[in-house]
Each structure stands twice: as C-alpha cells, then as structure tokens.
C-alpha cells in the first residue's frame, strides 16, 4: 500500500509541476534596452500573455517616481531582472533609470519601490553651450544594462551625467565598487549594451562639446576604447547592436560621407574591439547612395538596428528618417563599394521630406517558425504609394509596419505584410509570444523653429503633447487585440517598452511607471508613490 501511495504522490507531483505555468518557475529577464544585445526587441520567453489572454490585459499597478525631468526626458525603459535573491526572498525587480541621475528598483509583484540610488556628480553644469535644449538635455541619458552573474544575482551598470560608470547590486542598490571613469561628462550616451564583458555605447549631438563616438568599457582591464566616425552623431535609441562576432553597429547621423578622407557621416558603421589592445577599430560600413540628399534634408540614421540570422547568414536591418529599410549582410555591409545593400525598400512614409517624420527609435525582429519578420515604427502619414497586404485604416500620425523577409532565386526581399492602425507617434515595438506590443507616445514631435506665433523648444512641445496609448497587435496580421485607451494619462519621449513574465511596462513624462499584465496576475489597486510622499 505504501509503495502505491508513494507512486501516486510522485505522479501527482509531476502533474502539478507540468501544470504550473512555466513563467512561475523560469522567470524571463529583460536585461537591456531592446531586449538583447542584437536589439531584436523580442521577448522569447513569454508564456502568460498570449493572443487570447492579452485581450483581457489589465493595469496591475502604477507607481510615481520622484525623478526630475530635464527638457523632455524623464524615465527610461524598465529593465527586468526576473529572479533576484534579496533578503526578503526571491523577487522580480524592475530597474528604472531617470534622467536626473537616479536609478530606482521596483518590486513588480507589488508595484512598490525597493530602493533608489542617486548618483553624486563630479560635473558642474555651466550656463550656455549646447545645453538646456531638447537635443542635449544633460543628465543621465543612457538606459542602463543588467548582467545576470549567476542565478539570483544581478548587476546594474549605469553611466551618470558626469560620465562615470556605476556598478550596482540589483538586490540592494549598493555600489559594488567605486564608480569608474568612462565617458566625458555631459555628453549624450545612448542605451548601454553588454557583450562578453564589454560595455558599449555611442554618443551623439556633440552634447557638452564632446565629439561623437562609439565607446567600449572593458570590464576586465578597465580600458576604454573610442572610435569617432569623423562626421555625424551616433544615436540609436536603444543603443548600438552587437553581432555574433562582436562587431558593434550604429548609424552615423548627418555628416559628410567622404571615405577617401576617412570620414563616415550618414553611414551604418560596424566597429570591433581589438582583443589585445582593447581599441575599437573600423570593420565595415554602408552608406546609402543618396547619402548627400539625406544629409541635406536631415534624414539621417537614427534607429537601433536589429541583427539576426537568416538561412545561415547574419543580417542587420536599419532605417532612418527618410523612411525606408535597408537590409545589410554583416559579412559585407554594403557590398564591394559600401553603397549596395542586400535589399532596399521603397519609402514607407515621409513624402514631405520632413526631418520630424520617418522612422524614429528602433526596429524589431522575430522568428515565427521559418518566417523572419521585421517591424518598424514610423511617424507621419503613410506614403501614398506604399502598400501592404493588410492595412488597418488610414495612417495620419504614424504606424507599425511588418515585413516578411523572403529569398527567391538567391535574392532577398522584404515584403510589407501589414500596417497597423494609426498611432499618435508610433514608437519602437516589442514582440512576445506572437503579440506585437506598440505604443503611440502622444509626444508633440514638431520641432518648432522661427515661425510667428509659436513657442518653440521643449516648452512648446510639452504644452502640445497629449498622452500615450499602448496597443497589443496580432503579430501576423496587425489586428488590434487590446488598447490601453485612456488609462495612461501622460506622454513620453525617448523611452520604450519592456515585456517579461506576463507584464508590459511603459513610463511617462509625469514620472509614472505603468505595469499592465496578463489577466491571471493580481492587480494592486492603489497608485503607490515612489520614494517621496
């Protein structure tokens, strides 16, 4: 009898283990902006949110953080450490950086603040210069990056306003070691990436009078490498992407393309760390054949470019404010002449050739069995000649477009499959379990310059901004499955989404972090204040 009971118990234990959703035992992470070093923005380990359950997605909690805004910046995308060992037990923690040199840790189960770290600064802001503007807000501008050292132990790396690199214990917010010299102060680094013990970032806009560079911080040797394109800034919103051989990619912005003079403005550039010297060296580049036109009209590279494998080769896909996609073979970025992509789409938008339109932020990609999808957001009306197989209404303010990569007769092409509904300034999407999470930021992106009757700069744009709306779309058809409607009451600028373990995070200019989640997750009723009553 005892043996039978033992067998039955074992059987039941196995059955229970199988029945418990995978997310409860294997927590997913979202360690870096854009989801992974390749910036695919694809959460591969999502199980709670499905195309069915997302229709019932609900607001789980929201928390207001006390970070001070700078120009139009406030909070950066939350990074998720799925399973952190704390003194109060295992917790799933969201690490949120704020532009005012703050880093916050949130218990995502409760929506409460665990700790806050404010970086002391060695930088003294002087009046004048290229500061105090939307392009150069000052403060902390790079989304940090998390590293999972071992089960339960995570480190957060962040760069403060003064350019120093901080290393924090995610469980406690404590400094693991004193901050290290890394970048010039008051620059504008973009989201950090971490690959094989090296932290990468890039800078743009020449903020603080600092030249625009790729940067690398080698954690083992504490050596910093830098490489400047000679022209143009490097401003991929979710940071540079890294290929499997360690090459780091970012597009250089408006500048001169004069390769005979080693000047690489208006180009997609790949640099790689020299393993011995730790210097960053130019590996390859691609400059569009109409780079001069792009420079003239400020249509430059500005989006993080995901990297992926397809039919045994590695590719990178990128875009710009011009509003078309370039598919590049990373083994030979622009072909023999550095001007020939593997494929170039027609214009999706920006018929007006306006620098405030086009693609902004980051692209995304995911593998659907044997189908490779590429997604991109864009601002402004759809180009009248651009068509997709499925279109969800007129696009006036922006949308997400999904392409399918195909190979026919050895030639690659990107076929537009669907265009989403209209979104007010569509922002970089994230894919999880066959769902595309996207949002319209609600931000006024009009860059007002001398024109009678208009207040320009951040002040004017803040007045004109409305509120963000989060959407869940069927990743194969673009059909809208869910919308946050009016639940999000403020807008955001230069931030993004994070998705992990049934939860979707978005933050806004008023300092609020919203957590929407699967219907099976418990909601916390009240809005909790973060760090300040």
């Amino acid at each position: 009898m005892t043996r039978r009971l033992a067998a039955l118990t074992a059987y039941l234990a196995i059955a229970v283990a199988i029945a418990i959703p995978r997310a409860q035992t294997q927590k997913a992470d979202w360690l870096t902006d854009g989801g992974d070093p390749q910036r695919t923005a694809w959460q591969r380990n999502e199980t709670l949110l499905t195309k069915d359950t997302v229709k019932g997605m609900k607001l789980l909690w929201k928390i207001k953080l006390d970070n001070q805004t700078r120009q139009m910046h406030n909070l950066f995308p939350p990074l998720i450490a799925g399973s952190v060992r704390t003194r109060d037990g295992e917790k799933e923690i969201a690490v949120v950086a704020g532009v005012a040199d703050n880093v916050y840790a949130i218990d995502v189960a409760k929506g409460t603040l665990l700790w806050k770290k404010t970086f002391d600064s060695t930088f003294r802001d002087t009046p004048g210069g290229r500061g105090g503007g939307v392009l150069c807000p000052g403060g902390l501008t790079a989304t940090p990056v998390l590293e999972k050292k071992e089960a339960g132990s995570y480190i957060a790396y962040a760069v403060s306003w003064d350019g120093r690199l901080w290393k924090l214990d995610v469980a406690t917010g404590q400094e693991i070691e004193p901050p290290a010299l890394f970048l010039p102060p008051n620059g504008k680094p973009y989201a950090l990436n971490l690959v094989n013990g090296v932290i990468y970032t890039s800078t743009a806009q020449g903020c603080g009078g600092n030249p625009n560079n790729f940067y690398s911080y080698d954690l083992a040797t504490k050596k910093v490498g830098n490489w400047a394109p000679g022209s143009g800034g490097l401003w991929p919103r979710t940071g540079p992407s890294v290929g499997k051989d360690g090459t780091v990619y970012a597009g250089s912005g408006d500048g001169d393309y004069l390769p005979e003079e080693q000047t690489y403005g208006q180009a997609m550039i790949g640099v790689k760390q020299n393993a011995q010297t730790k210097a960053l060296e130019l590996k390859d580049w691609y400059a569009p054949s109409n780079a001069y036109w792009m420079r003239k009209r400020d249509l430059d590279f500005n989006a993080s470019s995901p990297i992926f494998d397809y039919h045994g080769k590695e590719y990178l896909v990128s875009s710009s404010k011009e509003c078309r996609l370039w598919l590049l073979d990373t083994s030979k970025l622009g072909g023999d002449d550095h001007r020939t992509p593997a494929y170039r789409t027609p214009l999706m938008c920006n018929e007006e050739v306006n620098f405030t339109m086009g693609v902004w932020g980051a692209l995304a990609t995911w593998q659907d069995n044997d189908v490779r999808w590429i997604l991109t957001p864009f601002w402004g009306p759809k180009h009248r000649q651009f068509k997709a197989e499925i279109e969800h209404g007129q696009v006036v303010y922006g949308a997400i477009t999904a392409f399918r990569l195909q190979e026919t007769g050895g030639k690659l092409s990107l076929t537009p499959i669907w265009i989403s509904r209209d979104m007010y300034m569509a922002e970089p999407p994230v894919i999880a379990d066959g769902i595309v999470f996207a949002y319209g930021s609600g931000e006024s992106t009009t860059q007002r310059w001398p024109e009678p009757g208009h207040v320009g700069g951040a002040e004017g744009r803040i007045q004109e901004s409305t509120h963000a709306v989060l959407y869940a779309l069927d990743a194969r058809t673009g059909e809208e499955l869910w919308s946050s409607g009016e639940q999000i009451t403020s807008w955001n600028h230069f931030t993004g989404l994070s998705v992990a373990n049934g939860r979707v995070y978005i933050d806004t200019f008023d300092g609020m972090v919203y957590c929407f989640g699967a219907p099976s997750l418990p909601a916390v009723a009240a809005t909790s204040p973060g760090a300040r009553q």
Binding site: G128, G129, R130, C136, G163, A180, L181, F182, L183, P184, P185, N186, Q205, G206, C207, G208, G209, N210, P211, Y215, K222, K223, V224, G225, N226, W227, A228, G230, S231, G255, L258, E261, Q262, T263, Y264, T277, A279, L280, L282, N290, Y292, W293, K296, R297, D298, E352, V353, N354, F355, T356, T446, Q447, W449, P450, E451, P452, G453, H454, G456, G460
Partner: protein, 556 residues
C-alpha cells in the same frame, strides 16, 4: 605618456576639431547680397561640389547640368525682370530642412524657392503704399517696380579676408585610455562646438512704429503700416524679432524695407520707410557687425522718382530706424551692386561720367553718418561698376571699372588718386558692369572684368612696392557678358543673349581660361540680372521671370 596614448590623444584632437569645424562646414558660405558679400567679391572660395575637376569630367556627382527652371510671376501683364537670387543654404524650419533662393519680380512679389526641387515654398507680394502713385510705365533707365535684390544679414568683417571658410568635417579615428583612466576623449571634454558658453549679445529694444527720416527729407507723407503688410510678429521660439537678425530683407518700390520670415514670408517687423518712392534701388545689403550693429545700405540711381542719386543707410538697431543719406548732387551712381564695404565698415561708392562736380569720382563714406571721409575724381573715368574691396597685405585696395580702364585705389590714401590702372578693352554692352576677385591655389589675387569680347582677367601683383595689375588670360568670345562669379576655381560667365540668341552660361577654369562647360540651349531667354551660386548650384534669373538652376543632380 606612452606612444599609444599620445597617438590616441592626437586622434581625439582630430575628432574634436571635426566637431569644431562642423559648425563652420555646415552651410557656412552663403550668397547673402548682390555680389555675394559686402565687399562685392563675387567669389565663393569652397564649394561641396563645384570644382575644375568635377566640371571637367563627371565623377561621383555625375555631370554638371541644367537642373530645373521655374517661371515666377505675380502679374502676367507686369514687368518680368528678376532680381539676383539670394541664398540660404540650410533652413531648419517647421517643414524640414530646406535650401532656399529668394528672388523678387519687378512686379514686387518675393518668391522663396526650394532649390533642391525647384518649387515655391512661399510668396509675398508687397502692396505699394507710398503717397506718390506707383510708376507703372517706366523707361529703360527707370523701369519702375522692385529693382534691388534682397539681402540677408551680411557680415561687414569680410569673408574675403578670412583664412578659410566652408570648413570640412574631421577624420575618423579613436584611441584607448589607460586602465581606469576613462576614455581618451576625457582630455578634450567640453572643448568642441557646444561646449563653450555662447557670447551674450544684448538684443535691441523692440522698434517703435516711426517713419524714417528719409520720408521727411524726400517730402513724402509719413507712412504707417503699409497696406497689405502684416504686423511684425514674434521671431524664433516666440521671442521678439530683432531687426538685423536673419530674414529676407527687401525694399519695395514704395521705399519700405521689409524683413520677411525666411520660413513663411511673414513680416517679422513693421516695415520701415527707407527710400523715396519710385526710385531705382540697387545693392541692398544688411550689414552686421560684431557688436550687434545692423545697417541697411542701398543706392538709388539714374535720377528715378525725380530724386537725385544717393547712398542711403538705415540703422536697424535704432528704435527710430533713423535714415541718413549721401546725395550725389546730380551725379549718377555707378554699378548694379550699390556700395561696397571695407573691413572697418567704410562705405565706398563710385559715380559715372557727367558734368556734375561729383561725377567720375570714388567716395569713402562714414559707415554711420555717410559723411565723406575721402574722395577722388578721375577725369573722364566714367566709372561703370560698383567698387570691389580686396585685402592687400595689411590694408585694403579698392577696384572700380571705368569706361575703358580698371582703377585701383589704396583705401588708406584714396584722396591721392589711383595707385594703378590697366586697360581692359571696350566695356561690355551692359550699362552696369561688375567685377569678381579671387585667390588662386598659388595665393595669387585675380580680378575678372567683362568687356565687349568676353572676360578679361588681371593678376594683382606688387611692383616696386606698389600694387599693380598684370594682364592675365582672356576668355573665349562671350557676347555682352554680365559680371562673372567664381566658385572654387571655376569662373562662371554669362552672355546676356538677344531676341534671336538666348543667353548662355559658361564655366571656365579660372586658372587657365579653358572652357569646361556651357549651358547650350538650356536657357531660352535673355538674362539681365545678376548670377548667384552656392551649395553646388548656379542660379540664373531669366529676363522672362524664369529662374534657372544649374548644378549636379542629387539622388533622392
């Protein structure tokens, strides 16, 4: 410091230099007034696309060619002349980045043209509002209507004196810092463009709406807000517009000076009465200095509007918009580009032949009061051009075209007469001539002047301690050539054309006189107005109100 770090610092310095030069390289050189600059040099030192090499043989940019033409006209029955196009290389406006040419028709409509695509961005028609009725049926000497090219703010500190211009970006490169010492760029942190605080410039007070003193001097009734002009509104980012700040300045035939918003053509300020009505205005230049001063200069010529020829100056920085004048007392002011300005702001003007005591003379005027500081009359010189000011060693020289000779004056000793002269042949058929001057690759200074046959050049040399003109090359035959311009070693000359033979634009190697290219039959009319150039293009205002653009096609 080891070699690796030193090398890294050098690379970093290059990158910083690039960041510094970025501000100079982007849109730094613009044709902002007749004859390009306040010195009327008609010379663009550097250009991103035009060079002898690219004109000679198509390269990465493809061939130099006709790009587009655009017919501009407000009233089909009105005069069809166009002014010399004034350029804005890069406007960051609410409709995006634009490169713009501002052109006005004689029938008083200002057009802003997107030069990358040859389309109109905006138009603004000046409604005549002076008391004397407008001159509708003029004569060749006094055609009526709008006659002076627009002007954008133009620095008095002459570009021609600068060591360089149109700076380029730097080279790529990088470095490695010492362990624990951060990036090599820390050594040069904050020193690039955008790192140093901007110099404080006190904005001028908001102007009161007061007619200029020119109205009283000309016995005209004071204007108020001219009919059709929109009340000046706020400037950039909601801030009040400071007269003298960037705008497309234009003076209508009613004598009112407008400052049009470059983005949309709105009046940035209440138009200021500047000149008498119905005169023939030439050479408008908005001259700016380093201390916030801004003065509009123009000349009125040929006795039009029953007014004696004069040089006029309007102090834009003053609340009252005070106007002063230097009257030529019956002499005729020479040239199509008005006055030229010296490095210290001195105003130079010349007069044609005539019985008047002020004829055949060159004058140096005080920049503020326009009172003569010096002058010299050359008997029977019959000056036909606006002066040209060039730097010469530690001083300046003034060059003026006479009926058959070029005359050179040392501006420091103007009152003692010319220091050199040279015959250049019979003058071109165009009544108002003009010069161009440039420095070649060997640092030699050149002058080009149109004559009846074509373009004649001279090298400016020193002989026995004195400045002299040495005959240079002579161009191929060009019928009725207009004043030329020079871009990055390429001289562009224009035949005016006739009823039966349209005008032709020529590109000539400024060092060798070799013809590099011509426009063939692309232009289908005559040309009378001034050429301009910039950003790889050359603009030709056709006499039938058609604006032509030549350059290298941009892949879009």
């Amino acid at each position: 410091m080891n070699r690796r770090v030193a090398c890294a610092l050098a690379c970093t310095a290059v990158a910083v230099s690039a960041a510094v030069l970025d501000g100079q390289g982007r849109g730094a050189v613009e044709w902002t007034t007749s004859g390009f600059d306040a010195q009327r040099s008609a010379w663009i030192r550097n250009d991103p696309r035009i060079s002898v090499v690219t004109l000679q043989k198509p390269g990465a940019f493809g061939p130099f060619k006709f790009l587009w033409k655009l017919k501009l006209e407000y009233d089909p029955a009105a005069a069809t002349a166009l002014t010399e196009p004034i350029l804005l290389d890069r406007l960051i406006g609410f409709r995006g980045f634009k490169s713009i040419a501002f052109v006005a028709t004689a029938s008083e409509t200002v057009h802003a043209i997107d030069v990358d695509v040859g389309t109109t961005l905006w138009k603004y028609h000046i409604n005549y509002s002076a008391s004397p009725p407008p001159l509708l049926a003029g004569t060749p000497a006094c055609p009526g209507g709008l006659s002076a090219a627009l002007s954008r703010p133009t620095t008095v500190a002459p570009f021609a004196f600068a060591a360089g211009g149109g700076g380029r970006e730097g080279r790529s490169g990088g470095g490695v810092g010492e362990p624990g010492r951060g990036a090599t760029t820390l050594a040069v942190a904050g020193r690039g463009r955008g790192g140093a605080p901007a110099p404080a410039v006190a904005p001028a007070a908001n102007p009161a709406v007061v007619p200029g003193s020119a109205a009283a001097a000309a016995n005209l009734a004071p204007g108020g807000l001219p009919g059709g002009a929109r009340q000046g509104g706020p400037g950039g980012a909601g801030a009040p517009f400071t007269p003298g700040a960037d705008a497309a300045y234009v003076v209508g035939s009613d004598g009112y000076l407008h400052a049009l918003n470059v983005s949309n053509g709105w009046d940035n300020m209440t138009p200021a009465l500047f000149l008498p009505a119905n005169t023939r205005a030439m050479g408008l230049v908005i001259a700016t200095g380093t201390r916030g001063e801004a003065t509009a200069y123009a000349v009125t010529t040929h006795g039009c509007g029953s007014q004696a020829d004069a040089v006029w100056a309007l102090d834009l920085a003053s609340p009252k918009k005070a106007v002063v004048a230097f009257k030529a007392d019956g002499a005729t002011i020479a040239g199509a580009s008005g006055v030229a300005l010296g490095r210290d702001g001195t105003v130079y003007v010349a007069t044609t032949d005539g019985p008047n005591p002020m004829s055949n003379a060159v004058f140096a005027l005080d920049s503020t009061t326009l009172k003569p500081k010096a002058s010299f009359a050359v008997p029977r010189a019959d000056f036909v051009s606006s002066p040209l000011v060039i730097p010469w060693k530690d001083r300046e020289a003034l060059i003026v075209v006479g009926r058959s000779q070029l005359f050179v004056f040392d501006t420091a000793t103007l009152q003692t007469g010319p220091v050199a002269s040279a015959s250049y042949g019979a003058p071109s058929t165009d009544s108002a001539s003009g010069l161009a001057s440039w420095i070649d690759a060997n640092d030699a200074r050149w002058i080009a002047v149109p004559n009846a046959r074509g373009i004649q050049t001279f090298r400016v040399v020193e002989q026995n301690g004195q400045l002299a003109l040495q005959p240079g090359w002579t161009s191929r035959a060009i019928t009725g050539p207009l004043p030329p311009l020079v871009v990055n070693g390429v001289l562009f000359a224009m035949s005016t054309g006739t009823r039966s033979t349209p005008a032709v634009l020529y590109a000539i190697d400024a060092a060798s006189a070799k013809e590099l290219w011509n426009s063939g039959r692309a232009i289908t009319t005559t040309v009378r107005g001034g050429l301009s150039a910039g950003g790889g293009n050359v603009y030709v205002p056709g006499a039938d109100s058609t604006l032509y653009a030549f350059g290298f096609e941009i892949e879009k």
